[in-house]
């Protein structure tokens, strides 16, 4: 019997389906990519292996190493900025900290996976309609949480605007399963924390490729997975000498990702082929609740970026990352430095010279410094000059 997981035409769930297909391919299952994924129903051994694989990914993806200040030993800590904290943390299971599917014990995980991906069809009637995928389901519906869909505001009154009017969405088992496993996917991210314990500067950006055709999405993401290297603060590392540097917001992250792709992927004929032009930038701010919002980045002119990359090779690490905002008295302003990097990266990506030039304006008595003349010349000539 064939199992088909249909495409949602949504950035989050399409990426999740692609990730499920990727996991199944890793287990040796033959997956067909047509308007979703189609594969032969999994047998008991394959189901066991899938659960094991998911269990194995939880720790490397959702924890980071941190040095204990007192003992000096390296501990693994949860990435608490993610909206995956369980309210009920009882029991002895090692991942009891996590909510939803991820926090379930392996036997329960296997039960979920079996009911969704194997040929054990339930006899129950499909009575209920899922409010996310609009498909009938024989299983009970559950409240949509931020773990299932990061921009859902269901369980948080404070995110509903009018507190007395709580929205209520319910989702099926499949949506819940897909939503939770997507957190284990290899997606470019950066975790920015300026001052320890300061909620205002503790935030994360995730970049999801938005490609309608799921097969193309799969090819692109397989390429992406080779480029990313997992570190504590990000999986896109820009090296300056021996120091590791990270971007501090979405556009810089995208530009440094392109730079890493150009550097690591061999045999590139046209950069246009490896640059995806539509991205969803998910922003998560850590506070008492995890505030999330989305921005769609649609690159208007890939050719312009291609031209710049051909001339400069590393526009982010050799030009933008080296700049800083210096006050006329001589102090360095970190906030403005970050804003300038954002303006320059956004200008290059959106092919908007006006935004780029704004970084060079004198603001708050600060001026942009650290610009390399050679790089600036190359950039402006390749961007604004006829060939």
């Amino acid at each position: 019997m064939e199992v088909k997981v249909e495409q949602y035409h949504d950035w989050w769930f399409d990426n999740a389906i692609e990730f499920l297909g990727h996991l199944l391919e890793e287990l040796g299952v033959n997956v067909e990519w047509r308007d979703g994924i189609v594969f032969d129903a999994l047998n008991d051994e394959q189901l066991e292996m899938l659960v094991e694989r998911i269990e194995g990914l939880i720790e490397p993806k959702l924890k980071y190493p941190r040095e204990n200040e007192e003992t000096g030993s390296i501990e693994k800590r949860w990435r608490v900025y993610l909206p995956l904290t369980a309210s009920n943390k009882h029991g002895s299971y090692k991942f009891k900290y996590l909510s939803g599917f991820l926090g379930k014990e392996p036997t329960l995980k296997k039960r979920v996976v079996t009911s969704l991906l194997s040929d054990l069809i339930t006899e129950k009637k499909k009575e209920k309609i899922c409010e996310i995928c609009s498909r009938p389901t024989p299983f009970d519906l559950e409240e949509t949480t931020q773990g299932v869909y990061p921009v859902a505001n269901n369980n948080l009154k404070s995110l509903n605007g009018v507190r007395s009017m709580k929205t209520s969405f319910k989702n099926c088992l499949l949506c819940s399963f897909l939503g939770y496993i997507e957190w284990l996917d290899n997606i470019p991210f950066v975790w920015y924390m300026d001052v320890k314990g300061n909620n205002k500067t503790d935030y994360t950006y995730y970049l999801y490729p938005k490609i309608e055709n799921i097969q193309e999405l799969h090819i692109f993401k397989e390429m992406l997975r080779e480029v990313l290297t997992e570190r504590k603060y990000s999986n896109i590392v820009v090296m300056r000498g021996e120091r590791e540097r990270y971007a501090s917001e979405g556009y810089s992250l995208l530009l440094s990702l392109f730079e890493n792709m150009v550097r690591n992927i061999k045999d590139i004929e046209r950069l246009e082929d490896i640059f995806c032009d539509r991205w969803i930038c998910l922003f998560i701010e850590k506070g008492r609740v995890r505030y999330t919002n989305l921005e769609e980045i649609k690159i208007p002119n890939i050719k312009s970026i291609e031209k710049i990359f051909r001339k400069l090779r590393k526009p982010y690490s050799n030009l933008i990352d080296k700049t800083f905002a210096k006050s006329l008295k001589g102090d360095i302003d970190n906030d403005l430095s970050r804003e300038n990097k954002y303006l320059m990266s956004k200008g290059i990506i959106m092919d908007d010279f006006k935004v780029f030039a704004k970084a060079f304006q004198i603001r708050q008595n600060c001026i942009l410094a650290g610009v390399s003349k050679d790089m600036l010349d190359k950039l402006i000539y390749s961007w604004r000059c006829e060939e």
Partner: protein, 120 residues
Amino acid sequence: MIQFESEEMEVMKRSGQVVGEVAYGNRGENITEFYQLDRARGVEEFEKQIKNIGLKSISIGKKGKSVYTEPLTHLIELINKYKKNYDEIRDIVLVYSTFYFSAIKYDKEKQSSKGSDRNE
């Protein structure tokens, strides 16, 4: 967005250098020139500001530093050529002028710190 010819780019780059030098003056005293150039609304105002910078260079010259302002005359020609898109020229000139201002300032600071080291 206009794609300029390389000679035109050269004119804007050199003009940016002149604006940066004039704005720095002898000790960074003419920084308001930047703000006014940036705030110019309309091509006439922008042209007027460029001319002001040309005049300012003469007053700097009297105090000891001479600035070669010929690129500004070519810039005026360029502005007249692209009257409708003068703001694109302004942006490029501003980018270069900020760069040169910052470079001159950094250079002077370096020189003065070396001088003070020697005195110590």
